[in-house]
C-alpha cells in the first residue's frame, strides 16, 4: 500500500528510551535510513517512565497512534525498568482494546542503540498501520480538534 497520495496525515507519538531506541533513531538518521515525518519522538529516561496517562494524553491531544520503544528485556540501563513497563503496557493496551479502541493504534517495540534499521522499519510499519486504521476518533478530546 502506498502512503504518499493520501490526504490524511496521521499524528504519531513515539516514546523512546534515552539509552536505546532514542540512540537507535539517531543511528537511523546518520545511516540515512528514512522513516515518515509523522512520527514525533519524545525522549524518556527509561521505558518505565512512561505513565499510562502519557499514552492517554497523547490520544487526547490528537495522536492517531502511540508507540513506545525501550531496551530489549534484560538490557535495561536500570536493570529492570522495562520489565515493569512491559506488564503495564500489556494491561493498558488490553484495556484500550476492551473499551473499543482499535488495538493497532498502540505498540511496544524493543529497539537497541545499534538497531537503526529496526528503528526505521518499525516506524515505517507502524505508520503504515495507522494509515490503514485512519483517523483516531474514539479516544480524543473534541476541543483539541479545532
Amino acid at each position: 500500500m502506498s502512503i504518499e497520495n493520501k490526504s490524511f496525515r496521521p499524528k504519531i507519538v513515539a516514546f523512546c528510551c534515552n539509552w536505546c531506541s532514542y540512540a537507535g533513531a539517531d543511528l537511523a538518521g546518520s545511516s540515512r535510513l528514512s522513516y515518515p515525518a509523522d512520527v514525533k519522538i519524545i525522549r524518556v529516561p527509561c521505558s518505565c517512565r512512561v505513565n499510562p496517562m502519557f499514552i492517554l494524553r497523547a490520544f487526547e491531544k490528537g495522536a492517531d497512534g502511540v508507540i513506545m520503544c525501550g531496551c530489549h528485556p534484560g538490557d535495561c540501563h536500570y536493570s529492570t525498568g522495562n520489565f515493569y513497563a512491559r506488564r503495564r503496557m500489556t494491561l493498558l493496551f488490553s484495556m484500550l482494546d476492551y473499551i473499543g479502541v482499535e488495538n493497532g493504534r498502540t505498540r511496544v517495540e524493543w529497539v537497541s542503540a545499534a538497531e537503526g534499521v529496526k528503528f526505521s522499519d518499525t516506524m515505517n510499519s507502524f505508520v503504515e498501520k495507522i494509515y490503514s486504521l485512519g483517523e483516531n476518533v474514539r479516544l480524543g478530546d473534541l476541543r483539541c480538534r479545532n
Binding site: K61, G62, D141, R143, C144, N146
Partner: protein, 343 residues
C-alpha cells in the same frame, strides 16, 4: 384545560421538536436523566426522579465561556454565544421548578448571569405533577405542592391521558403551537388526581419534617454546634449530593489548553471537594467537617439570610436516595431537632 391521549405523546414530542429543542426524561443504560428528544430516545415520563436534576437545561454541568486564540502577535477572544433559540423542557416536577426559583435568586440578581438569563428567557417548562411521590420526598416542607406544579404549563398523567393547562404567556404560546393535538377537557379528573397525590404525600414519613430553628438568624448558634463533628464522619467527600441537587449553584471557572487555543469554561463545583473556593492563599475550609457544614449551613441558614427566608432546598430527596454513605439533609435536620429536645 386540554388533554391528549398518552399514545399520542410521541406525536406531540415530534411536533414540539420540529420547531425547537426538546428536553425530557430519557432512559440511557438503565438510568433516567434529562436529555434531548430524538426518535430513538426511550422517553421515561413515569419515572418520578431523574438521577440528575433538570437544572442542567438552564445551568449545564459545564459550559464554555470564551476561547482565546493567537492570531499573529495578537490574542483574539471569542466569547461563547448566548442561547438564542427557544427550547422546551418537558416533565420537570414541582420541586425541580421550585429549584429554578432558587437559582433565579442567585443568577438573575445583580450582576446578572447572562448565560443563565438567556436560557431562562428562551426556555418553556412543561411541568408534570408527581403521580406517586415517594418516601424520600419532602417537598411539602418547603411549600411545594407536588400535585400542582407552577410552571409555564402544568400537566397531569391520569389513566390513559395527559392533562395540559397553560399557566403563563409562554405556556399559552406553546399550547397554540400544539393545539392540533390537544382536545378540550374539564377539570374534574385533575382535581381528583390532585387530591389523590396530596393524600399519598400525607402518608410519607418526611413530608411533615419540622424546620424549627433553621433560619437566617441561626448563624452562630448552628455554626458553632458540636454536632457537626459527629455528623460529618461517614461523609466520603464525594460530590454526589451536590451534583444531583436541583438547587446547588456553585461553580468553578477553569481553563483548558487545546494546543491551539485556550478555552475557558465553567463547571459545577461541590463544597465537598478539597479545592472548593481554592484561592491563592490556599483554602479557607481545611477539613471535611467544615466542608460538610458549609453545604447544610448554606442551604438552611446563609441562603435564607440573603433571600427573605427562602431555603435553598426544595425537598426533592435525590440526595436521600443517592448518598453513598446514606447521609442527607433530612438526617441533619433531625439530628439537630433531637439534640434540641434533649437539652
Amino acid at each position: 384545560m386540554y388533554k391528549i391521549a398518552k399514545e399520542n405523546l410521541s406525536a406531540l414530542f415530534r411536533l414540539i421538536a420540529d420547531s425547537q429543542e426538546l428536553y425530557l426524561p430519557v432512559k440511557t443504560a438503565g438510568q433516567v436523566n434529562f436529555a434531548a428528544w430524538s426518535e430513538e430516545a426511550e422517553v421515561a415520563l413515569d419515572t418520578l426522579k431523574s438521577v440528575k436534576s433538570p437544572k442542567d437545561a438552564f445551568f449545564p454541568q459545564s459550559e464554555g465561556l470564551y476561547t482565546v486564540r493567537r492570531e499573529g502577535k495578537k490574542m483574539k477572544v471569542e466569547p461563547e454565544e448566548l442561547k438564542s433559540q427557544d427550547f422546551v423542557v418537558f416533565g420537570m416536577k414541582a420541586c425541580d421548578v421550585k429549584g429554578l426559583e432558587v437559582l433565579d435568586n442567585v443568577f438573575l440578581a445583580d450582576p446578572i448571569d447572562t448565560f443563565y438569563a438567556a436560557r431562562r428567557e428562551h426556555g418553556t417548562i412543561v411541568a408534570l405533577a408527581c403521580h406517586e411521590p415517594e418516601e424520600s420526598c419532602f417537598c411539602k416542607v418547603f411549600g411545594v405542592d407536588a400535585a400542582d406544579p407552577a410552571a409555564d404549563v402544568a400537566a397531569w398523567m391520569i389513566g390513559e391521558d395527559l392533562y395540559w393547562k397553560a399557566l403563563t404567556e409562554k405556556g399559552e404560546a406553546l399550547t397554540k403551537k400544539v393545539k392540533e393535538l390537544l382536545s378540550d377537557a374539564d377539570e374534574t379528573a385533575v382535581e381528583a388526581e390532585k387530591e389523590a397525590i396530596r393524600g399519598i404525600a400525607e402518608k410519607l414519613p418526611y413530608m411533615n419534617l419540622s424546620l424549627d430553628g433553621w433560619n437566617g438568624d441561626a448563624l452562630s448558634e448552628k455554626f458553632d454546634d458540636k454536632l457537626w463533628e459527629e455528623l460529618y464522619k461517614p461523609c466520603l467527600a464525594c460530590g454526589t449530593c451536590t451534583f444531583v441537587c436541583p438547587t446547588c449553584q456553585c461553580y468553578d471557572i477553569k481553563d483548558y489548553n487545546t494546543g491551539n487555543s485556550v478555552s475557558r469554561y465553567r463547571c459545577w463545583d461541590s463544597c465537598m471537594y478539597s479545592d472548593f473556593t481554592m484561592m491563592a492563599h490556599g483554602n479557607n475550609r481545611t477539613s471535611q467537617m467544615q466542608r460538610f457544614r458549609q453545604r447544610f449551613m448554606h442551604k438552611l441558614v446563609y441562603y435564607p439570610a440573603n433571600n427573605d427566608g427562602m431555603y435553598s432546598c426544595v425537598g426533592c430527596g435525590r440526595c436521600v436516595e443517592k448518598c453513598p454513605a446514606s447521609l442527607n439533609i433530612v438526617k441533619v435536620i433531625k439530628a439537630f431537632q433531637k439534640q434540641g429536645g434533649e437539652r
